[in-house]
């Protein structure tokens, strides 16, 4: 079974992935994805009827702990990594028009 990925799908996935691909990259992404999906389709040979999807190998549940502050104010150091900052805040482009 050969998968065909449309231009629209690549556009849509690009939006989900927050990636801006060049025309060349889009072509490559399309053929890469088609090949991968053809390969992934071999999973359809397996009968998984009634098998629960296993997201975790161990039976783990949410782990809760008290929300106790153990560190000090690290905002100055944290902000050092910010591409842009202003008045002790991360600076981003205008978000509301």
């Amino acid at each position: 079974m050969a998968n065909k990925i449309s231009d629209e799908t690549i556009e849509y996935v690009g939006i989900l992935a927050k990636l801006e691909l060049s025309e060349e990259e889009k072509l490559a992404a399309r053929s890469d994805m088609e090949r991968m999906l053809d390969y992934i389709d071999t999973l359809n040979e397996l009968d998984t009827e009634g098998i629960e999807p296993m997201s975790h190998v161990f039976p783990v549940n949410n782990v809760f702990r008290e929300d106790v502050v153990t560190n000090g104010d690290g905002s100055k150091d944290t902000l050092k990594n910010a591409p842009l900052q202003k008045e002790q805040c991360f600076k981003v482009p205008k978000t509301i028009g």
Binding site: A17, N81, P83, P93
Partner: protein, 493 residues
């Protein structure tokens, strides 16, 4: 014998005995870095001054009797996807080219508290996505056994650094074989522990349900000592497991009498290099002669592990890597129009092709309309694979097979065909899907002189069985060094 040819545990003993100072050990590693790094390129960042300063601090604590463990004073290298406070952590990506973490990963912290001295951060495939260390933004790492070949990946820098004696041991991370496969290619010992054994806190996530930090070492003794140092329950990692025991070094016993070893026929079929096959079966024979009970069996489902793995790993990666948006840290594009354009441009310019490929695939399999057909199907397959292993471990103490179908490929031969590269992970990915421990140990070399690695897979929490069998095998021969490490010692370089 030079200092740097010692194993980590041997060095630690000499440091405790006052025969070698920590500074001498660090200087020996740095001298080797100076002499071979231009050829091998194991490191992204070398912490020369910090390491020397730390050496003196650690020495004082050893002299005061405050640090008595086996790794006190031992120079180590850390894969560049583990956060290190104040030290550049790039994940070998352009997008983290200027990222200096404000905290240290728990596993690294454990090593530091044990007195290890960090020499630097090692090269890797970008965001650990790759099997050759060629997708790094900071140049390729070369195999110390033959610099025309890759070291494997994604922990290629850590494994090459240990083999080239640019450090005494290292930490790597393993999502689909990223410790075991490069360890095999570089002729060192590498272990992926049971999922949840080592804290992932501070490990930059790729596939969170599969990622696990583990040791890369010259021998099994070092491997056990490192694991014992870094394994601990950590409440900062919600998937960390509280184990009954964190003792691993007591497994270093030469005895495999009665141990049941399963040899999966499906791991020795088509696609496996005959020289690799022969070396592994020979090593299995050694264990059999020492009293292990060896039996062939059919593991089944082996061909479904890779497609399931790439769906799950890519899905998790697309989610995990959404945090790289040019706002709080890392690369931001120079020019942009509005917030979304800034996100898109920063990410598109900051990520390399392999990372983009996996983010795209992951976003696709998680998108509505495809989620059930791909993502849930892969999770169901994972459940079946886990069951197949459960059945095997009802009969066997461990499963033995190759770590990779071939020895290290030549540089530049793998990336042109990603599918082919993915297929080379056939023997390692299922171990991550099932959360099992696995170790790769050197069992000889092929006709080109490249190392061959044997993979031993255990049931959950059975690291000690693996260490014991690996240790027993190791007693039959001594650690072989690459010529590059020996030549430098003779002053040939």
């Amino acid at each position: 014998m030079s200092i740097r040819s010692l194993t980590a545990v041997q060095l630690g003993k000499k440091i405790q005995a006052g025969e070698v100072t920590v500074r001498e050990a660090v200087e020996a590693s740095l001298a080797q870095i100076d002499s071979v790094e231009s050829e091998v390129h194991s490191y992204v960042t070398i912490c020369r001054e910090e390491a020397l300063k730390r050496a003196d601090q650690v020495q004082k604590m050893i002299d005061a009797g405050e640090l008595t463990g086996p790794l006190a004073g031992v120079p180590v290298a850390i894969k560049d996807n583990m956060c290190t406070e104040g030290v550049l952590t790039t994940c070998s990506s352009k997008i983290l080219g200027n990222f200096v973490p404000t905290f240290t990963a728990e596993a690294v912290k454990c090593l530091e508290e044990a007195g290890a001295v960090i020499l630097g951060k090692t090269n890797m495939d970008e965001f650990a996505m790759g099997s050759t260390t060629e997708t790094s933004y900071y140049g390729v790492t070369k195999n110390p056994w033959n610099t025309a070949h890759v070291p494997g990946g994604s922990s290629g820098g850590s494994c090459a650094a240990v083999a080239a004696e640019e450090c005494f041991c290292a930490l790597g991370s393993d999502t689909g074989g990223s410790i075991r496969q490069p360890s095999a290619f570089c002729g060192v010992v590498g272990m992926k522990p049971t999922y949840g054994t080592v804290s992932r806190y501070g490990l930059i996530a790729y596939g969170s349900s599969l990622d696990q930090i583990g040791p890369v070492a010259k021998d099994v003794t070092d491997c056990a000592a490192i694991l014992e140092t870094i394994a601990a329950h950590d409440e900062k990692d919600s998937t960390s497991i509280g184990r009954d025991s964190y003792d691993f070094t007591s497994a270093l016993v030469e005895d495999v009498k009665g141990m049941k070893i399963g040899i999966p026929r499906d791991y020795f079929g088509e696609g496996l290099d005959p020289e690799v096959k022969e070396a592994i079966l020979k090593a299995v024979k050694v264990l059999e002669e020492k009293g292990a009970v060896v039996e062939e069996f059919d593991l089944s489902l082996v061909e479904y592990a890779i497609p399931a793995y790439y769906v799950i790993a890519s899905a998790e990666a697309s989610s995990n890597l959404s945090r790289f948006d040019g706002v709080k840290y890392g690369y931001r594009t120079a020019e942009y129009e509005g917030l979304h354009n800034m996100y898109k441009k920063s990410r598109s310019e900051g990520f390399g092709p392999e990372v983009k490929r996996r983010i795209m695939l992951g976003s696709f399999v998680l998108s509505s309309g495809y989620y059930d057909a791909y993502y849930l199907k892969a999770l169901r397959t994972k459940a079946l694979i886990k069951k197949a292993f459960d059945r095997a471990f009802e009969k066997y103490d461990m499963i033995i097979g190759p770590a990779a179908p071939t020895t290290a490929p030549e540089l530049g031969k793998s990336l042109s065909d990603p599918m082919k590269m993915y297929l080379s992970d056939v023997y390692t990915v299922s171990v991550n899907l099932a959360g099992l421990p696995g170790i790769s140990i050197p069992v000889g070399r092929d006709s080109k002189g490249l190392p061959i690695g044997m993979q031993m897979i255990g049931d959950c929490y059975q690291e000690k069985k693996l260490l014991q069998a690996a240790y027993t095998y190791e007693q039959t021969g001594s650690y072989v060094r690459p010529e590059l490490a020996e030549a430098a010692e003779k002053g040939g370089r």
